[in-house]
């Protein structure tokens, strides 16, 4: 009940602030440009349709995860900086309710990005027959990644003094997760690269999408990667709960 009250307040705040409202047209324009280039550019249009689907899904996850990261980084640190945290903590609110409320806001950004992306993904996958399976995997795996990223970032946001520090730390982690996974398979030739690839949740989502969309492999192949993502989300929730417990003003 109280988590819902906080969550609704965060959602309304996002709906009333330009930073959140701007994100939706920005995502839409970025996906429009990408899909337009796939369909009209002489070089890109020769790509295999499955590769186009994979790249569109990859762009959606990148955009959605960025929105989640920025929103979650502002959660507690932003309230502290704006002076609204102390009145909130003076109410009979426990850390799991706070976490639930803040997660609602951060995950709403992921949900909005994912919903906006569906028509684009439908256009790119048109005629391939793989839209539903691919969409289900990118929404499912992407959501686990979003939950984990949001919860870890909220946990960090609970213990840093300013939004700037919180945002900086969160963006460093975002870059650390996404950049190596985007740099290609050449990094995965040695054991360090392969180990990082196995534990990196973003790489797990990309490898799942690659496997499902391009290689058309089934659920059994994805099980280990989805387990890794579930562990990332679960440990993130525990971390966020622990960091929000009782001592947010210490």
């Amino acid at each position: 009940m109280i988590a819902r009250v906080i969550g609704l307040r965060v959602l309304r705040e996002l709906a009333f602030t330009p930073k959140a409202l701007l994100w939706l047209p920005i995502s839409s324009v970025a996906l429009s440009v990408l899909v337009y280039l796939f369909l009209t550019s002489a070089e890109l249009s020769i790509l295999d349709q499955k590769t186009m689907m994979f790249m569109t899904a990859q762009a959606v996850v990148l955009l959605g995860l960025l929105a989640v990261t920025v929103t979650a980084a502002d959660a507690v640190a932003g309230e502290r900086e704006r002076g609204t945290l102390e009145p909130l903590l003076a109410a009979p609110v426990v850390s799991s309710q706070l976490l639930g409320g803040y997660l609602t806001g951060a995950l709403a950004m992921w949900a909005a990005t994912a919903i906006i992306s569906l028509p684009y993904f439908m256009v790119v996958s048109s005629g391939s027959g793989g839209f539903f399976v691919s969409a289900a995997y990118f929404l499912g795996a992407g959501s686990l990644l979003a939950v984990g990223m949001a919860a870890w970032t909220i946990g960090v946001s609970a213990r840093v003094p300013t939004v700037r520090t919180s945002l900086l730390l969160a963006l460093i982690v975002y870059a650390g997760l996404t950049a190596p996974a985007l740099l290609g398979s050449s990094l995965r030739t040695n054991w360090v690269g392969r180990a990082y690839d196995a534990v990196n949740p973003f790489a797990n989502v990309m490898n799942t999408l690659d496997s499902v969309i391009i290689d058309e492999q089934g659920f059994a192949v994805q099980r280990m990667r989805l387990k890794t993502l579930t562990v990332f989300a679960g440990t993130g929730l525990l971390f966020g709960w622990w960091r929000l417990t009782g001592v947010a003003l210490e």
Partner: protein, 313 residues
Amino acid sequence: MNVIETRGLTKEYRGHTGVADLSVEIRAGEIYGLLGPNGAGKTTTIRLLVGLLRPSGGEARVAGHDVSAEPVAVRSVVGLLPESAGFYGWMTPVEYLCFFADLHAMPRGEAGPRIEGLLERVGLGDRRSSPISTLSRGMRARLGIARAIVHRPRVLFFDEPTLGLDPVGQRDLLRLIQTMNEDEGATIVLSSHALDQVGEVCARVGIMTDGRLVGQGTAVELRRQLRLAPTLDVRVAQTDLACRVAVELGLYARVTVAPPETVVLTPRDHELHPEILVRALVGAGAEVREVVVREPSLEDVFFAVTQPVRSAA
């Protein structure tokens, strides 16, 4: 009956003591002033009593709940107006109060009339639908009070509530706090370093410095404990002459000039001897305009209590 009881309450940070060995009892329905200079530990004390900080030692009970073991239960029966509290500027006052009523799980049927009534009482009835970002500082302070009491708390903590308000806003807010105390019957702990304001509304005060409670009681009790004598304020045209005469009489421990034309005399033995002084002054040719016996103010008590501690520190 005591609503707040602390015994040896202590809060230590890394290498720094925020509150040291605080023992205090506050009765139900009273307005208790927490006085002290900046950094004295007033805000830390309030945060400990609201359950926002964990004590490093000692114990504290608020409305029967242990602040260490039951912080959520404590927060359900207290209201807090923190120093420089922020607001959700995009909300209207009604939405803002509804949000906090929901956090306290107040039923909608009870919260609606309560919020309407509170907005009228704090003078925001006609601004109930304006975004909070358009309200003045004084209006926001009053909205903060309404927010702190929306759930009918038994104990209210106001941390420097008049900070940043103009004199009229300060007076209005203090009146509002007194009214809330009378109407709601809540116990109020008011932290401030504005001594005149605290003296105006508080029945008892506790004076803190360097994290310690160094004096406690009513203004009269504190004056008695400290053996503070009244002073004689003499308004005279020739202050230099008046000072010389007063010193020569040998009856006064301290003779100071309060410009432009007042001489303040502190007696040696609690006896002011105004007749002897006036006779001597007139005899010396001074033009005496007014003689006033002034009881020590809360400010005098505050300085008498805090300055020895500060000097020792």
